[in-house]
């Protein structure tokens, strides 16, 4: 069963979307499907027909540019494997709630793991 993740990375060369665990635990492969954060490692390609898929490349080229600059300025990257997923999820949260509380941010990002332990700072960015 072909995964959306592989089609993005290998088929389309959009390697901004990372594969972390490949089993829905880490959030590194998060993309937006019709605006909703979704794990692309768990989405079979056949369910993507007619859907709008946005990857980190897409939002970086568009309205999220300033938001991404803040990640860079505050050192939101260490190894970087989790960062695209965190960017996507945080961006999706801000579309719904422009001023989330720390608790709301923590909950929204709970499905994005960071092995370098930078996760604790993410809700502050």
């Amino acid at each position: 069963m072909e995964r959306l993740l592989d089609v993005l990375r290998e088929g389309l060369g959009l390697t901004g979307t990372k594969e972390g665990c490949g089993e829905g635990e880490c959030g590194a492969c998060t993309v937006l499907i019709d605006g909703e954060p979704t794990l692309s490692c768990l989405v079979p390609l056949f369910q993507c027909e007619g859907r709008r898929i946005e990857t980190v490349e897409g939002i970086a080229a568009g309205p999220a540019r300033d938001f991404l600059e803040r990640f860079v300025a505050t050192g939101g990257v260490q190894c970087g494997a989790c960062t695209p997923g965190i960017v996507i999820t945080a961006w999706a949260l801000l579309q719904r709630n422009p001023a989330p509380s720390r608790e709301e941010a923590r909950e929204a990002l709970a499905g994005n793991l960071c092995r370098c332990t930078g996760i604790c700072g993410e809700p502050d960015r």
Binding site: M1, E23, T38, L39, L42, P44, F46, A108, A110, N112
Partner: protein, 280 residues
């Protein structure tokens, strides 16, 4: 190469399933996609239920609410009707995976996948849900208490799918509670998960449904504990009794997430605390 059948109506879906009961029903795919390459390879045909409108959404009906099987946990936790009448189901929905999983994972998928650790399943037991099942012969109803019949086995017959779940409203003044014990607050598979609902009459427990996950081969009602405290006044002794009986009647196992001993211990504590929390 995997061919997906993508029906656009319930009639079309059950017709396909009637003709080929080996089709694997899928919705959010969050359980299916982690079965590993070999399992996915063996699964040569799937039927995608996400495009079937009759299976999706939350409706208020006479005496309760109905939740379509492909309704996501995000939709459930956002639903005003669910939050008002069944806050423990909304709470369980927030405990399934993280945001991304909740956007895809469905109530019917949680049921049909029938993991003993499914977070929403003890809630459905405590709320005395009724499952509406669709097949080539039409619709039939199964009390949710009879739905799980063994480890990852359900009362669904070949070619049948879960269409929706009906939750009858609790009587005025009823209590309900939910508690999940996992490694962390999000994105954790439960070590123990417990739900209860019931009502007090004249200072005594008149009705109690107590259910747990991750403590047996399937989600279970804790009937010995229920029986032991029926007619008792809520309080420390009743809570102790419920916890003890619950720990005695379950059959947890050791696995990668926890041990049988810890699960039994945690279940006793959680049940005791939840029964203590019943307002008198």
């Amino acid at each position: 190469m995997i061919a997906a059948v993508r029906p656009r109506s319930l009639d079309e879906a059950v017709r396909h399933l009637g003709e080929d009961p080996a089709l694997v029903p899928t919705a959010g795919c969050t359980d299916l996609m982690v079965r590993g390459p070999e399992a996915l390879h063996r699964m040569d045909r799937v039927i995608d239920l996400l495009g079937v409108p009759e299976l999706r959404g939350i409706r208020e009906v006479e005496g309760g609410i109905e939740i379509g099987s492909t309704t996501s946990f995000s939709e459930i936790r956002r639903s005003a009707a669910v939050r008002a009448a069944f806050p423990i189901l909304a709470e369980a929905a927030t405990m399934v995976g993280g945001w991304q999983i909740q956007n895809r994972a469905t109530l019917g998928g949680n049921m049909a996948n029938a993991s003993p650790a499914g977070d929403s399943l003890p809630v459905l037991l405590a709320l005395d849900a009724v499952v509406v099942v669709a097949g080539a012969q039409g619709l039939r109803e199964i009390p949710y208490a009879d739905f799980h019949i063994g480890y990852r086995r359900t009362a669904l017959r070949p070619g049948e799918i879960v269409a929706r779940v009906r939750l009858p409203y609790l009587p005025a003044g009823a209590f309900q509670a939910f508690r999940k014990v996992g490694t962390r607050e999000a994105q954790a598979i439960s070590k123990v998960v417990v739900a209860l609902a019931g009502r007090i009459e004249e200072g005594r427990i008149a009705e109690l449904r107590l259910a747990a996950g991750s403590v047996a081969a399937m989600p279970v009602r804790l009937r010995a504990a229920e029986e032991a405290v029926r007619g008792q006044a809520p309080g420390p002794e009743t809570a102790d009794l419920a916890g003890r009986e619950a720990a005695r009647e379950v059959t947890p196992i050791d696995d990668v997430r926890s041990t049988a001993d810890y699960r039994r211990f945690a279940l006793e504590r959680v049940v005791r605390r939840m029964v203590m929390g019943i307002a008198g």
